[in-house]
Symmetry: C2
Subunit: 366 residues, 2 copies
Amino acid sequence: MRMDAVSKKTVGKIEKLAESVLRAVKGGGNPFVEIPVRSLANVRFNEKKRVVELGNQRQKRYFFNVAMAKKFMQTFLVSDACKELIESGKTTSIRDLYYITKHTIGDSKQNTFEEQDESDPIIEDIEVALDTLREELHLFASRKGTMVGPITIRDSGDTIDLRRMGSGGWGVPSIVEENVIQFGRHEARYVLLVEKDAVWSRFNEDKFWKRQNAIIIHGGGQPPRGVRRMVQRLHRELGLPVYVLVDNDPWGFYIYSVVKQGSINLAFESMRMAVPDARFIGLSSFDKVTYRLPSNVAIKMDDGDVARAKQMLAYPWFQAKQWQAEIQEMVRSGVKYELEALSRRGISFITEEYLPTKLKEKDWIA
Amino acid sequence: MRMDAVSKKTVGKIEKLAESVLRAVKGGGNPFVEIPVRSLANVRFNEKKRVVELGNQRQKRYFFNVAMAKKFMQTFLVSDACKELIESGKTTSIRDLYYITKHTIGDSKQNTFEEQDESDPIIEDIEVALDTLREELHLFASRKGTMVGPITIRDSGDTIDLRRMGSGGWGVPSIVEENVIQFGRHEARYVLLVEKDAVWSRFNEDKFWKRQNAIIIHGGGQPPRGVRRMVQRLHRELGLPVYVLVDNDPWGFYIYSVVKQGSINLAFESMRMAVPDARFIGLSSFDKVTYRLPSNVAIKMDDGDVARAKQMLAYPWFQAKQWQAEIQEMVRSGVKYELEALSRRGISFITEEYLPTKLKEKDWIA
């Protein structure tokens, strides 16, 4: 099996790690793996890059240390399994990897892993230790998300014209690295990421992507890794602006913020997933006035919503004046709106009036 | 906008309903809508057709009746909105329909609907009253599910070759009626419906569909309406056998049973969704022995699992000897298995050995 450049690089990193351990053993030392600390204390918002990222704290995991030996063994078990995956050109889920690497050790009753919640952190360890994405380790996450637009892509050797995907669309896979997905000819002017699949269907059915020369994509709620990485690649490699369209509620704002600067939990992969220039195009807390939404389509916020919104006021990445105004207005009014509320003005109001007007008037938050 | 035959028929049904009401008013009578009762008491398993279906009980909803007048009004509001949808060639979600039909009535403080849980049952009323699927009313449900295989389809005018869908696949839309999706040239011998998207990805990556000439499809857990209807159409119109591959646990068995004979909640649409000939190909409670799965990949059933399995023993559609043995063995052993457990035997064991062997030895339950 011939490996592509991405795979060769990743296998190289795994081998280098193993070799350094071997050298330490031969030299009579106590081998260790050095891993960046992934606790909250080591996470920060980088104002310059505008992403949530890991700090510089690192920890050493030693081989000759009772408390650490099992994790050390697990780290090598998982990285070896990933190496095999890459070399065989196969990919799999983290659930599957857990099963693949679960053994009973020798005649003992000891298992390499008891539960998946033991193997998942090891995968993250390897990601940060090797500065690699799990997708490069050939591990995929769930797939939910669909994409159409004026672009031709290559996916695993197949040429797919996303202008001819009917009502169904192309299902965005979890692994969209350049060794799998390549971009071909396109006439796209921008990318529109929509929170909800139902709203995306409206944009697809109305052929919004064709009228506007836009790539439209949804992630079925909080976008999965594949969708985020796809949006980042379209932005970086094709230079397309990214607009995010979410519900007017704390969850919608959170989805936008994860797309834009990454999340605290997965701070180590912000550089590969986040799009700091992503623009919030709606639903704004002020749209209810501008677009005359009747009060009977408003939804009363519950205590959890209000608490969440107030928390957000303190986030470093929501300190811009516009964001403070957005969130304060939501708290003040005590109501939230779903994207579907716009349908009260007509079923295609969102594609024919709302979004075109917002774009024309540059009515977004950058 | 020219309407297709399916749409014309549905609009005709809505108009006929409205006309019969008008006639009653003109004749000085008390207009009513007759709706089949959708309570458990009116649901039964039809042994001959082998589907869960509604019985013959019907209820009348009168216009001049204080208790029923609001529902009567809602019924016409929703059916009118559906008629508009159909005539404009648009489709939408039931959430959206709720917003579209939500009005404050005149100067009163009364809303046509307060919450979506008021409009959803009205949609079901119209479905059963008109003997039509909500998809024919141009209402879609969530989309989750992907399909590839040796078949060309037409979707909303686009020709899509499902042999060239890369790692992503074609996203199965919610509405797959023949006015939207038509089947073209194909070399498929059967349909394989897989419970989990991660396992489906294994089958796609290993090009199982090409080697076996099979259409492979998943529904991201319990398959959504679009996937079920698609499988039924492939079965009925192309004469393809359907194999269902699920986890070896009560939930997996339940998924199979819904695909096969429909569900109690949606008994009125079994005829349009169920595939009574669908075959259960795995994971069987006896596969752990046949395919030598180590005991450390078994998962202990919790009390809920055991109770659920025992309930299933009593279901009329699980009375066949083979099903009783399946469920009894699960209860006896006290353990369940995920499809991913097969990966312990090798990452492609499921596509290269397990499924081909099962098919060859006709080791399924019909």
